[in-house]
Amino acid sequence: MKVTDILNWENTSLACGKNSIENQITNGYNSDLLSDVMGNASEGMAWITIQTHKNLVAVASLKDLACIIIANNNKPAHDLLDAAEEEGIPVITTSLPAFEFAGKLYNELNK
C-alpha cells in the first residue's frame, strides 16, 4: 500500500510532505523511543508515534521510513513540519490512538 491510501481513511489528514505520498509502505512500527526506531525499524515502514518534535524527521529520513503518523490528536511542531517538507517525509496526523491506528494498518497490510 501507499501513504496516499491512508489518507483515504477517516480521522486522518496530511500535515506535510504531499510530494512523497506515493511512498510505498512495507510495514509499520509503533514507538515513542527514538533509539528503538533507529535500532529496529526498517526502510519503508510507517512510523506511528505520539512524539511531535523535529527530531522525528532525522530518524525517519536516516531510516528511509515511508511516513510519520502522529497519533491521538497530537499536533506536530512547526519546525518538524518545515524539516519534513524539506526532507520529503509525509507527516500524517490522526485522532485515533496509536494502538487503534496500528491495528488498522496491520489489518490493511495483511489483507
Binding site: 533509539s35 528503538d36 535500532g39 518534535h53 527530531n55 532525522a58 529520513s61 536516516l62
Partner: protein, 136 residues
C-alpha cells in the same frame, strides 16, 4: 576522504545533521545500502549522545577503500562506568531529554550492534572519545 562536523551540546534542533550529510556522501560513493544503514544508526546515536550529554564535540569521518572510521570526541562530563553505560536500558539522560524519546539507554548498545569495531575512552569531567570502524 576526510569529513569533519562540529557538534553543539544541547542543540537538539541540529541533531542528526552530521549523520544526514554523511549518509548523502556515502550514497554518492555508491557504498552498499546495507553498510550505509548500519553506519548511519551508529553515527546518529553517537551524534545524539554528544548533543544530550556533552558541552560540545567533533565528529570526524575517514573513508578509504576498505572501511569507514568514525571518531566522536566531546568535551563533557565523561562516563564514570563504561561497562554500565553499555548495558541496555541504563541511562543518565535528563528528564527533558527522556521526554523527547531519547535517553532510553539504547544508544551505546545500538552503536555496538551496528559497528564492526568500537572503542570508548572516557575521562570524568573532561570528555569521551568513541571510535568505530565499519568495513565496506
Amino acid at each position: 576522504m576526510h569529513l569533519k562536523y562540529k557538534i553543539q551540546g544541547g542543540n537538539f534542533s541540529k541533531a542528526g545533521f552530521a549523520s544526514s550529510e554523511v549518509k548523502k556522501i556515502l550514497r554518492q560513493l555508491s557504498i552498499e545500502p546495507k553498510t550505509i544503514k548500519r553506519l548511519v544508526v551508529a553515527l546518529y546515536e553517537g551524534e545524539v549522545n554528544i548533543v544530550a550529554h556533552a558541552y560540545n564535540g567533533l565528529i570526524t569521518v575517514d573513508i578509504d577503500t576498505e572501511k569507514v572510521t568514525v571518531t566522536l570526541k566531546d568535551n563533557g562530563p565523561g562516563i564514570p562506568d563504561i561497562d554500565k553505560a553499555m548495558e541496555q536500558g541504563y541511562s543518565t539522560a535528563s528528564a527533558a531529554v527522556r521526554e523527547m524519546g531519547f535517553g532510553a539507554g539504547m544508544g551505546l548498545p545500538n552503536m555496538k550492534k551496528n559497528t564492526d569495531e568500537m572503542t570508548i575512552k572516557s575521562v570524568v569531567n573532561e570528555g569521551t572519545e568513541v571510535i568505530f570502524i565499519n568495513y565496506i
